[in-house]
């Protein structure tokens, strides 16, 4: 039992950290550019597809990862220059629609290029083993531990970037008041492009890392987009700290909720306990968000006063 709980907790941590990679980009883009980007999940999907494509040409997983991240970041920068710069000045409704259009375009073009069948990314040989935890009671895959380590490293990196560097100071200034920041001499346009590209890079990192665990398919963007949005809404849109806390909360509740519900249903001998538990756990996250917004309409850590 203890082994199962530990395993599921680690899975929850891993899912939460991957959610954080998406939510961090989403919350940065929203906080600093005042832009709702529904297509953020599509960048994650594109990152995963690019990783799958590169893995045909390169054996080294690290090279594949770096290439996918660089390509997606470049795509993000181009998108920002061509489209998002204009969207920034439009209404929220227009932003929702335009980025919804981008989702349709991204999904359809990925289907056209890679086909409707899910694509697999091979797990790197050296990472496919597992380690013993709790004195041989639990065999946990090394690869998942690696994902957790990368997630934590990125979280620390982002913390240092946003709070301890000059660039981070600009980002925070831009987030709290873009006009004032521009007047004080911060070159706001390149900053926006950088932030957007950074968000895209984080998406690609998550997509490429999860590629070997999941099948890479066109629906994957949307299936993580909604939890990622729930994360930033729970945490408070624009707040990095909120995104981190929210992501871990959502990851844990989703994974442990599934465990608890499934075992409860099994205990009461309800048919189809596994699927029922999974969907009810997803509902739990939505309910959490609704509950938090009911008491704190601006999320746990409101970014702007």
């Amino acid at each position: 039992m203890l082994a199962l709980i530990l395993e599921q907790s680690l899975n929850g941590l891993q899912y939460g950290l991957m959610l954080f990679l998406l939510a961090a980009g989403l919350t940065l883009v929203f906080g600093i550019m005042d832009l709702i980007n529904l297509a953020h999940g599509s960048l994650y999907m594109i990152g995963a597809f690019l990783a799958a494509a590169f893995s045909h040409y390169f054996q080294n997983f690290f090279v594949v990862l770096v290439l996918a991240i660089a390509a997606t970041a470049l795509l993000g920068a181009v998108l920002e220059k061509v489209l998002y710069q204009h969207l920034r000045r439009m209404t929220h409704l227009s932003q929702v629609l335009a980025t919804f259009a981008l989702i349709l375009i991204a999904n359809e073009s990925m289907t056209m290029v890679f086909g409707a069948q899910p694509v697999m990314i091979g797990m790197p040989e050296s990472l496919s083993g597992s380690v013993s935890l709790l004195g041989d009671e639990l065999q946990y895959p090394v690869y998942r531990l690696l994902i957790i380590a990368v997630g934590i490293a990125v979280a620390i990196g982002l913390y240092v970037l946003v709070n301890k560097t000059r660039l981070g100071m600009w980002i925070r200034a831009g987030a709290s008041n873009p006009t004032m920041a521009a007047t004080m001499g911060i070159r706001i346009k390149p900053l926006f492009t950088f932030v957007f590209a950074l968000g895209a890079a984080l998406c690609a990192l998550a997509g490429a890392l999860l590629g070997p665990l999941l099948a890479v398919s066109t629906g994957m963007g949307e299936s993580i987009l909604i939890p990622a949005f729930e994360v930033i809404v729970i945490g408070g849109i624009g707040s990095m700290r909120g995104a981190f806390v929210g992501a871990l909360l959502v990851g844990m509740i989703d994974t442990l909720g599934r465990l608890v519900m499934t075992s409860a249903f099994k205990f009461f001998a309800v048919s189809g306990a596994a699927t029922l538990g999974a969907t009810l756990a997803s509902m739990l996250v939505s309910l959490l968000m609704v509950g938090i917004l009911f008491f704190r309409p601006r999320g746990l850590f409101p970014a702007r006063g």
Binding site: A98, A101, E230, L280, M283, V290
Partner: protein, 334 residues
């Protein structure tokens, strides 16, 4: 007749509710009534069903338009209410209750109740939070439909026959079209009365400046909640008709993409214009039909078109008329 609204002077937010004159409405009603007879003459029965579909989604889009266009509430969860209506009809039919007199009002009531509950919580939030919380609620309904065995899981529920209306056999596509036209027509009259009433004008005022309306003494929250509930109820009516049209309902009706598509229809037509939802749904469905015969990549075409619309005409097709008129005026004064 209710007074026509005064044209706005701020081009970005048309305060002209785009209300139709009586003759336009009568002309459109005649065209819609004659349409299936013409199609029957031409032997194109398929287009009668397509006509029913357009009318039903026009109703759904207009319902969303009440909240989105008139009330300024950007709801990304209206598919939930559409689905609530559809599931009510299908679930009642599963219990052997087939009478339209029970099923349709029940669908409206359930969807309205759902909208009331969702609105009561969501309307406390603003801006992006509102968009996201409506989306989250819609996901709740979606998961509920998928996971509860009563609702048939992924397969949804099937109808063995359409709802019973005494004296009419709805299994006949022509009769069903007229049933839809009549029901949707009543709903459009109701919508017209709503948006041209004091309530409608207060709603517009809230959209333009909520704080000011609150300061003048209107109960802003209550008005918005009322509009949201009505909007949900009408979407439920559309859902009830949709379940009858497609002889069943699947969780796909509740998916968040469906909410997005409803929003797309409203914006293509013109949010905040009376004909906006109707025009948008018609353009959307006819275009989908035309494009799908040539290519299977309809979503790609739609995505590109949508981007162009958002960039070029964010106020939709109905705003083009005003734009053209103002162009002419400018030329004639020069």
């Amino acid at each position: 007749m209710a007074p026509r609204l005064i044209p706005a002077h701020r081009p970005e937010t048309p305060l002209t509710a785009g209300l139709p004159g009586p003759w336009t409405a009568i002309a459109i009603a005649i065209v819609l009534a004659a349409y299936p007879l013409l199609m029957r003459e031409l032997g194109e029965d398929f287009y009668i069903t397509l006509g029913s579909r357009v009318l039903i989604l026009a109703l759904a889009a207009s319902a969303l338009n009440l909240a989105l266009g008139y009330g300024g509430m950007i709801s990304l969860g209206h598919a939930a209410f559409l689905g609530a209506g559809a599931y009510t009809v299908a679930a009642l039919a599963g219990q052997g209750i087939n009478s339209a007199w029970i099923a349709v009002p029940a669908a409206v009531a359930i969807a309205g109740l759902a909208a009331f509950l969702v609105g009561a919580v969501s309307l406390r939030t603003k801006g992006v939070y509102f968009i996201m919380i409506t989306l989250a609620f819609a996901q709740l309904f979606y998961y509920l439909a998928v996971s509860l065995p009563v609702f048939g899981g992924d397969d949804g529920l099937q109808l063995t026959e359409r709802s019973n209306v005494p004296g009419i056999k709805l299994e006949n596509d022509l009769a069903f079209y007229y049933f839809v036209l009549f029901t949707a027509g009543l709903a459009f009259v109701l919508l017209y009365r709503l948006v041209s009433s004091r309530f409608g004008r207060a709603l517009l005022a809230i959209r333009e400046n909520e704080r000011r309306v609150a300061a003048v003494g209107y109960p802003v929250f209550r008005l918005k909640l009322m509009a949201f509930t009505l909007s949900g109820g009408l979407a439920g009516l559309a859902g009830a008709l949709l379940a009858n049209l497609s002889m069943g309902v699947t969780p796909h009706t509740l998916a968040w993409q469906q909410s997005g598509l409803l929003m797309v229809m409203v914006v293509i037509g013109g949010s905040g214009y009376f004909w906006g939802g109707i025009t948008g749904a018609a353009i959307f469905l006819l275009l989908e039909e035309a494009v799908s015969t040539h290519t299977e990549h309809w979503n790609l075409v739609l995505g590109v078109l949508l981007l162009i619309i958002v960039m070029v005409a964010p106020n939709g097709v109905m705003s083009l008329r005003e734009r053209v008129i103002s162009q002419f005026r400018r030329k004639s004064t020069q």
